[in-house]
Symmetry: C2
Subunit: 120 residues, 2 copies
DNA sequence: GACATTACTTACATTTTTGATAGTATATAA
DNA sequence: TTATATACTATCAAAAATGTAAGTAATGTC
């Protein structure tokens, strides 16, 4: 499941950075091209796999799965499978997941300011 | 200088995400393996290229250059060259760069909490 | 029995990011 | 004259992330 090479310099560097700098640790945890948007949407409440897919029209099922699994592994979302056919799976933020709110808020604030500056 | 393929799906997706979600826009702007740590160090004041290198013992000069150039292009740091030999170049956060502080603070806060949860 | 639905998985290809290594310029000091 | 220090640049190689396309399971519906 993991394609990372534990012996690579890159891997070592990432680990080192995460250990020495909590900010980097946090950034790595919510990193990945789609993880942040997914978190943003889940802030509003739980969603099914298919609902997320509709909200992110360009994402492939593969990527959505991968990122959700990573978020799950990192304790940021929970995955609830209902024994139905066709299957139903719901994703919801964990408490620590919901605590990302202030981070997202600050990112939004800063992003807005930066965007405006750039437009001038 | 840019190795990105403007015609790729990946590129299109990134653009799209950044447009639709300011949080992602912000995250992309300070993304890159080393950009955040560099920003953290620069929060304390301006630094020379060589000083940054010492603070990040594992970074290659190439990567340090690349990330600093990106930060410069994005208006987050300024680059001041002194006409001396050997050369001296100083990097400092711009006003909007310094405004990353609250973002870093929140990342730190969250990162700490998350780390503690994981250790249990 | 064929079909639709949903949330996936698998194998492979492409793109993007990062790393390794070896250069370069140039005034000053030895 | 050679060496030194500093902030780079240029190539090439490796690793990591993302995308493409095609499957799968299982049950209820027609």
């Amino acid at each position: 499941m993991s394609k990372i090479k534990v012996t690579s310099t890159n891997h070592a560097n990432k680990q080192d950075l995460a250990e020495r700098c909590v900010e980097v640790y946090a950034a790595q945890t919510i990193g990945g091209q789609w993880a942040l948007v997914i978190s943003c949407w889940l802030m509003h409440g739980k969603l099914r796999f298919g609902e997320l897919k509709k909200l992110l029209p360009n994402i492939t099922e593969r990527m959505l799965t991968l990122q959700l699994r990573k978020l799950e592994a990192d304790g940021i979302v929970t995955r609830t499978v209902f024994a139905e056919v066709p299957p139903r799976v719901e994703y919801e933020l964990t408490p620590i997941g919901y605590e990302l709110k202030p981070v997202l808020d600050q990112l939004e604030k800063w992003g807005d300011k930066h965007k405006k500056l750039r437009q001038k």
